[in-house]
């Protein structure tokens, strides 16, 4: 036997799903039967419908994004891209300098295959 609170919560969720138009077939008919038999279930469905309209209205209201959000995100991206490019550039420059130094000091013997 299901505890009374669990049963009430189950009805709450079921009527909510019905009000959101998410129930079909036998499940929908069961909720309609409940609503027909019990006025408080009918009022519950109406309450859900009202709340869902309010949520939808709130969801469709335009939201003003603080300019700081866009500015901060873009600035961070540019700084990060600059650092990445600088790292690549300095890395390449360092490698070239090292290669030049190795060549200058004669530390690496260039070997060329002799044509046969």
């Amino acid at each position: 036997m299901m505890p009374a609170d669990d049963r009430r919560w189950e009805i709450l969720e079921k009527v909510g799903a019905y009000a959101a138009g998410e129930l079909e077939g036998e499940e929908a008919r069961e909720v309609e039967r409940l609503m027909y038999e019990r006025p408080d279930h009918r009022r519950l469905a109406e309450s859900y419908a009202r709340m869902l309209v309010m949520l939808d209205t709130l969801g469709n209201e335009p939201v003003k994004v603080p300019s700081a959000v866009v500015g901060y995100a873009v600035r961070r991206a540019y700084v990060s891209a600059f650092m990445r490019n600088a790292e690549t550039f300095i890395g390449a420059l360092g490698r070239s300098y090292l290669n030049a130094l190795v060549y200058y000091l004669g530390l690496r013997r260039e070997s060329y295959a002799e044509p046969t």
């Binding site: 969720e13 009202r50 949520l55 969801g59 995100a73 990060s80």
Partner: protein, 186 residues
Amino acid sequence: MRASGGDAGAFRHLVREHSGLVYRVALRILGPQYAQDASQEAWIRAWRNIENFRGDSAFSTWLYRITVNTCLSARRKESRRKEREYSGDELPFLPEPPGVDGDPEAAALNTQQREELLAALEHVRTEHRAALVLRHMEGLSYAEIARILDVPEGTAKGWVSRGRAAMLVAVTEQRYDDRETGERAT
């Protein structure tokens, strides 16, 4: 796609185009106090991970996922807020606001209703709230919500259902609390 190659200029266009989505979702899940910080954090995460975006899903779905994850981890840092429990014998009832019948102007929310809704959202458990926001405020399908929250579709449906019920309980109890406070004040 250029942005995923590390092009900051292309990323700037993405930020300008989708900043509304990120801020709106953060605002609904976290409230105005934390929405700005969470939006900024979400964009930083997006920039860091954009090279992993392969275009398998819509860019907006990918961005929703980053935003929701950022909001959820921001909430986990705080102490867990208790979801409003349904304890009454009577089923919750939300009365019809006066003057709504046939008046399209009345469909817009007044300040009090907006504040009530936002305050009630605070009493819905974070995961349930995120699912509720995505379903009933962003209008996404359960398949999309499941992808964004990285859970099976059945779990997404359960979270929306639970969030919807908790939200109705919170709105009605809050109206009841407000009425009591008002009566006590007079």
